[in-house]
């Protein structure tokens, strides 16, 4: 950071914060289950990245698998897929649906893994939580601070499923991932058959898996 702050001020702040945390511990801060679930999963991913095995190229693959499993547990890829396909979802056969979910979840996971490769466990701050009036949907805002001090807002939309809260959309810089893919898929489905679309997603996911990111 450019700004070297006042040390005394910082010490005071941290002391005050420690007091607040202690107080919080006593009063048991009330947090929504969605928030706790998200915080736990982000925590899991962060500790995986900080694992020395992750920085070692030889053991990196196993850690990547571990992270992928964490993501799979906390994301609901069926919801992701059905929302992304929208009305087209009903036109897919059961078999196509399952292979679409598999391919699309791989695409999302490898994209995510590619992103955290350039991320060294910088801090994530959990911010506001917005809850629908029925209480069955919520959006939790987080802020990721990159090494250069840039703050990127990332929000997670969640819904309750199987006794836990699962992520069904991610908004980076307030742009919904689902909505962005949705238009692409819709455009492709005008000319392609569902199977061709699934094949393209699969190919893209494989490219990303092998690190053949078009970006580099």
């Amino acid at each position: 950071m450019l700004l070297g702050g006042c040390k005394v001020k910082k010490t005071c702040c941290s002391l005050l914060l420690v007091c607040l945390f202690l107080l919080g511990g006593v009063l048991t801060v009330k947090a929504s289950p969605a928030r706790m679930s998200l915080e736990a999963s982000l925590d899991e991913v962060l500790s995986a990245i900080k694992d020395p095995a992750y920085s070692n190229p030889a053991t990196r693959q196993s850690v990547r698998k571990k992270i992928a499993n964490i993501v799979k547990r906390h994301f609901d890829f069926v919801e992701f897929s059905s929302r992304t396909l929208g009305q087209n979802w009903t036109a897919f056969s059961a078999e196509q649906k399952s292979s679409f979910v598999a391919a699309f979840s791989d695409l999302l996971i490898y994209t995510y893994l590619g992103k955290i490769d350039g991320y060294n466990g910088e801090k994530i701050i959990l911010g506001n939580e917005r809850v629908s009036s029925k209480g069955n949907r919520c959006e939790i805002a987080t802020t990721v601070t990159l090494q250069n001090g840039k703050k990127i807002p990332v929000s997670y939309r969640m819904l309750p499923k199987d006794g836990d809260w699962k992520v069904y959309d991610v908004l980076v810089e307030n742009i919904s991932l689902v909505k962005n893919y949705r238009t692409q898929f819709q455009d492709l489905l005008r000319t392609d058959k569902p199977d061709a679309l699934i094949a393209r997603i699969r190919a893209k996911a494989n490219d990303l898996e092998q690190g053949k990111n078009a970006a580099h």
Binding site: L2, L3, G4, C6, C13, L17, F21, G24, V29, R35, L42, D43, K50, R83, G86, L107, T111, G114, K115, G121, E122, K123, I124, I125, L126, G127, N128, E129, R130, V131, S132, S133, C138, I140, A141, T143, N148, K150, K151, P153, R157, N174, I175, V178, K179, N180, Y181, R182, T183, Q184, F185, D187, L188, R200, I201, K204, N213, A214, A215, H216
Partner: protein, 323 residues
């Protein structure tokens, strides 16, 4: 008669200007900032750090309102968009995650289920063929020219210089943000922009951005207002999607907005014209580090990068109009 009147007005203006500069000078002499002028400072970075620290204590009559408008030490964004609380400055627990104390629960019913809206493209694209051509052209330019050149630039310049230039550019474009805040009737936001400009200009000629650490009286879009957004606020739609060579995605409205903003851009008036243009291009090039990775990311994960870019750009602009 006419002539005398003009001279009198001119004299008053001139006197006011001299007086304000004198006041400023005297204030700087007696303000904590004076230690900035003392020798014995090491590298430039240390001096900048000091200036940034001291700037927090500046209280100048010319900066009336700055202390009022920019009060505490945190940035305040619109709720729902981004909320960075004072957690920012707080020590982070070892896990890297902050506790729950930062968040509030806000009711919201716009968490769409996505099955209601048709999900069609967000903008008309009648020139798709033409746009795709320029998209491919720009893609080649970004990947094979801009990106390698920028990496070279990064290798030969210290980070503090790049951020300094970014801050300077942002500060120089203050008139654009100020005028457009006024045109959108966001008078308090205009006041914030003005205060930020004054603070940043006075403590560092715009090369540092201590004002960004100050809390504002109203949430102000950190990217700032521009004429494209103003037209959007006035109710104008995007019109067709257009991809410009080198500049990238735009729409008819955003193109008009860009041209309109030129008139509030000080570099547009810089003389000689080629020096102004060269400066503007250098500063724009220096800003690429926030754009290039985003673009490459988007491209890397998209099935159809053209559509992904179009949707992301238009959604992004629409959000800024709402903010």
């Amino acid at each position: 008669m006419q002539h005398t009147k003009y001279t009198a007005a001119y004299r008053i203006l001139f006197f006011a200007r001299v007086l304000s500069f004198l006041l400023l000078f005297i204030q700087l002499l007696f303000s904590p900032c004076r230690s900035f002028a003392e020798p014995n400072h090491g590298p430039v970075e240390v001096r900048i750090r000091q200036a940034l620290f001291l700037a927090e204590g500046i209280d100048h009559p010319l900066l009336f309102g700055v202390q009022r408008i920019l009060t505490s030490t945190d940035v305040h964004f619109k709720p729902g968009a981004i909320t960075v609380s004072d957690a920012d400055k707080a020590p982070v627990p070892p896990s890297g995650l902050r506790g729950m104390s930062a968040g509030d629960t806000v009711p919201a019913d716009d968490l769409d289920d996505y099955d209601t809206d048709g999900g069609g493209p967000v903008i008309a694209d009648p020139f798709e063929g033409w746009n795709r051509f320029w998209f491919r052209f720009n893609d080649g330019f970004y990947v094979y020219v801009a990106d390698p050149v920028y990496r070279g630039w990064k290798a030969v310049t210290p980070e503090i210089m790049r951020t300094g230039l970014q801050n300077f550019f942002h500060n120089a474009l203050f008139p654009v943000r100020f005028v457009n805040s006024l045109l959108q009737f966001k008078f308090k936001a205009a006041g914030v922009e003005f205060s930020r400009f004054m603070l940043n200009t006075m403590c560092s000629a715009g090369f540092a951005n201590p004002a960004s650490k100050k809390k504002t009286i109203v949430p102000v879009d950190p990217a700032g207002e521009d004429f494209g957004q103003t037209l959007g606020v006035w109710g104008l739609g995007h019109g067709p999607y257009i991809v410009w060579p080198f500049l990238g995605p735009s729409s008819l409205r955003e193109t008009v907005g860009r041209i309109g903003d030129l008139f509030a851009d000080p570099l547009f008036y810089a003389q000689p014209w080629w020096a102004g243009t060269a400066t503007a291009m250098t500063l724009r090039f220096n800003n690429l580090d926030s754009v290039l990775p985003l673009y490459l990311d988007l491209k890397g994960s998209a099935l159809d990068p053209y559509i992904a870019m179009r949707e992301a750009y238009i959604n992004y602009r629409n959000l800024h109009v709402k903010q």
